[in-house]
């Protein structure tokens, strides 16, 4: 065991990636998949997951080549100081807005399922403040927190999958493979963004104890996520059918609501699940905020990351208040993923990978 040297183990990388990706996405995923390809949604999700593993592989190759430079450091090395910083700024915005978006979507669901009369602001503000508090502490306490909640999260997921089984009718899943490649290609974008969050890997690379094992850990993490997503989607379709699923706002929650647990003491499980869902969202936000602080620190230099987060706090809050309704917010979310998201998750890693092929590895310090 290492002592206070800001290094995280391979297992911790896996946990970090898993919990960063697992956020509000799983609540809406079955609906967005059903909108794109109806019954083939789960296949689409698997394809998207495999593509993500490919991108993670690219990220790891870049990271292994420059293990100590960090994200912005690598960009500077590859593209020069000024261009490197310019290329990093969209990423900064992406992390900020993505964290705000997660907070907002969670706030909306919490308002529906838990706190009907509490103002949205009052639901989101404590969550943001607590996220900043943990993100300020640095990578080690963050991953320890993540590890500590892992058993709880595993428990919640298992309960979710078991309850989801109750009112399933698997004949609802038919027919499969009823869509051509074109509609798959169209739908792949929204399927991919269900896995958004693994880009944190770019940022945390300097903190990984064994950089060459980072891919293995992330691979397992994403594999487990594919399993979780596929189970959720299949159970939703089996419960409601894909036609009905695409009309639901939060199909996963609706599925829990529709399932009556026989002989259970707890009557409305979705209330408790929603409360525990805070942990899912919280871990994602913390991880995004931490990435944000590291990127911001590297861009600005000389300022400690933890102080920067306090400066960003009001912006995250304001960002989470954009849009009057959840529909507006979802539209902003689409805009975000179409531009900054696409840039951070796909374009930038690929460009970095290609350019790094032409750079000598001796560039790493």
């Amino acid at each position: 065991m290492q002592r206070g040297n800001d290094k995280i183990s391979t297992y911790q990388v896996g946990v970090l990636i898993y919990l960063t990706i697992l956020g509000v996405g799983i609540l809406t995923l079955p609906a967005s998949m059903a909108k794109e390809v109806e019954n083939d949604g789960w296949i689409l999700s698997i394809i998207a997951g495999i593509i993500c593993i490919g991108i993670v592989y690219i990220m790891c190759k870049v990271g292994e080549k420059f293990p100590q430079n960090g994200f912005v450091g690598t960009l500077k090395l590859l593209f020069g100081s000024i261009l490197g910083i310019i290329l990093a700024i969209p990423t900064l915005l992406y992390f900020l807005l993505f964290a705000a978006l997660e907070t907002r979507i969670f706030g909306e669901t919490a308002k529906i399922f838990l706190l009907n009369r509490t103002p949205l602001e009052m639901i989101m503000l404590p969550l943001i403040i607590l996220s900043v508090i943990l993100a300020r502490l640095g990578i080690e306490p963050i991953v320890r927190f993540f590890e500590a909640v892992t058993p709880v999260i595993a428990f919640v997921l298992i309960i979710l999958f078991l309850i989801g089984l109750i009112s399933t009718d698997f004949s609802n899943l038919k027919p499969i493979f009823s869509h051509d490649l074109l509609s798959f290609a169209k739908g792949i974008k929204s399927a991919l963004f269900a896995y958004a969050g693994f880009e944190a890997l770019l940022i945390i690379f300097p903190f990984i104890k064994e950089p060459n094992k980072a891919f293995k850990a992330s691979f397992v993490a994403i594999l487990l996520l594919i399993v979780a997503y596929v189970i959720t989607i299949i159970e939703c379709y089996a419960t409601f059918g894909s036609k009905l699923t695409q009309r639901l706002m939060y199909p996963t929650m609706s599925m829990i609501k529709a399932s009556d647990v026989p002989g259970a003491f707890i009557e409305r499980v979705e209330g408790i699940l929603e409360a525990l869902w805070v942990l899912f969202v919280y871990t994602s936000i913390v991880s995004l905020l931490y990435s944000l602080s590291v990127v911001a620190k590297d861009i600005l230099g000389h300022i400690e990351a933890k102080h920067l987060l306090v400066i960003f706090l009001p912006f995250i809050y304001l960002g989470s208040l954009v849009g009057d309704s959840i529909i507006d917010m979802m539209n902003y979310g689409d805009l975000l993923t179409n531009t900054l998201g696409l840039y951070t998750i796909f374009i930038l890693p690929v460009v970095m990978f290609i350019v790094s092929r032409f750079k000598k590895a001796g560039g790493s310090k």
């Binding site: 065991m1 002592r3 206070g4 183990s9 297992y11 911790q12 946990v15 919490a110 838990l114 706190l115 509490t118 639901i123 404590p126 969550l127 607590l130 508090i133 943990l134 502490l137 306490p141 963050i142 991953v143 320890r144 927190f145 993540f146 590890e147 500590a148 909640v149 892992t150 058993p151 003491f265 707890i266 009557e267 409305r268 209330g271 408790i272 929603e274 409360a275 525990l276 805070v278 942990l279 919280y282």
Partner: protein, 515 residues
Amino acid sequence: MKREILYQYIPNKKTPISSMIDDNILSVKNLLKDCDDVVYRQFKIGGDKGRDVFLFYIDGMAEKELLNNFVLKPLMLMSRMVEPTFEEIKDELYEASKVAAMSVTDFKENDNIEEAVLAVLSGDTAIFMDGEEKSLVIATKFFPVRGVQEPTAETVIRGSRDGFTETIRMNTALVRRRIRDPRFKIKQKQIGVRSKTDIAIMYIDDIVDKQIVDEVMNKLNNINIDAILDSGYIQQYLEDRPFSLFPQVQTTERPDVVAAAVYEGRVAILVDNSPFALIVPVTLTAFFQSPEDYYSRTVVVSFVRILRVICGGIAILAPALYIAITSFSPGIIPTKLALSIAATREGVPFPAFIEAIIMELTLELLREAGVRLPRPIGSTIGIVGGLVIGQAAVSAGIVSPIMVIVVAITAISSFSIPNYEVSAAFRLVRFLLMAFAAIFGLYGIVLGSIIVLIHLSNLKSFGVPFLAPIAPFEYIDLKDSLIYRAPWKYMIKRPKHINPKDEIRQVGDNNAEGQ
């Protein structure tokens, strides 16, 4: 910047012992002026013309029998009856009396007055001889002590019954009896400018992580207080976060717990006058373990450990859940139960939060009163509190019967946590969660738990994360953690999170199963 305490009797000051015995007597008597419990004795070796000898000790702390029979008698009487005569060995009298006359085992030599006085103040006896620039210190410590008794705070059904006492020597002996290994070190030092309290730092040299010992030594060396009265003083110097709710040092009254900890690569600290030993580093899981866990059989122990974790959860969460469910989401529980709770709460004029606070504070009052009262009266508290207040509060319509049940379950659960300090921490966490539950309901409980968990994730005890082996996750250490203890023959290695130098606890081929 080291704080210095202005004090005439500065520990570093050293007055050399002069060869003129009268000078020495004068300076000793000067130092111990108005200390009327000091006994001075002046006599001669070798009859009237013999050498002047002077000894002094503290009445009640030194063993008079030993002094009379084995120091004074040989020197004053028996030496005159045997060869060689006084005249023959006049010049080597000091050596001769040391080597041949006094039949006591424990000698020390000093060359300054202050050390001799300090030794006398700890119960020894100092002897000055005319013409010598040295003094002899004879170990004569003999003062009233409590015998070894069963520890009161950590009782077990299965396990040894001996507990630490107030005497550090007895305590080190109790531990040494369990570790017959020359590599088991007991380093002693004195802390407290005035109290000069003996502190013993115990560890096994080739198991312990040297960094931990260094950190302990470092922290102890920086203490410059006037007096250490209990290990609680030292504990607060050892903790990095004195304001944290959670103790970062384990305290125990049991020598078997200390021995087990030392065998795992931890460091134990004993303080004179305190029956509580300190153990560092410590993790949260250790507070959920009882020494008995290691003596009983695996399945039963694992069951009890699961029970304790559940109890910990109840002790923290139960009142908060009551508040959240009754005032925010009554729909979560079955309708019939929700209705019956609502019916019992109908006459209660307070919101659930106030109701819970009233009852929890009452419980805390009862507990505190029960501790303070003399034992025979203590049981009255239970009757008055439990029966009278509980029953009367319900019939007066101040609280609902469900609330009384919740409080009772909470209390019983918190008593089943083996460590007193952690269960005290849990009590305070309970109030925090109750406040959050009153504001945000179930969401608030999770937010409050996140706050506590952030703190725990950030907490370290001597470099070991407080949540280890859960976070950072250490697969091998799950054999002995919150919910499971493997049979002894499968626990091949020492806990990894303590970072022992020598990881292997036992050698053998019995690791084929039970992984």
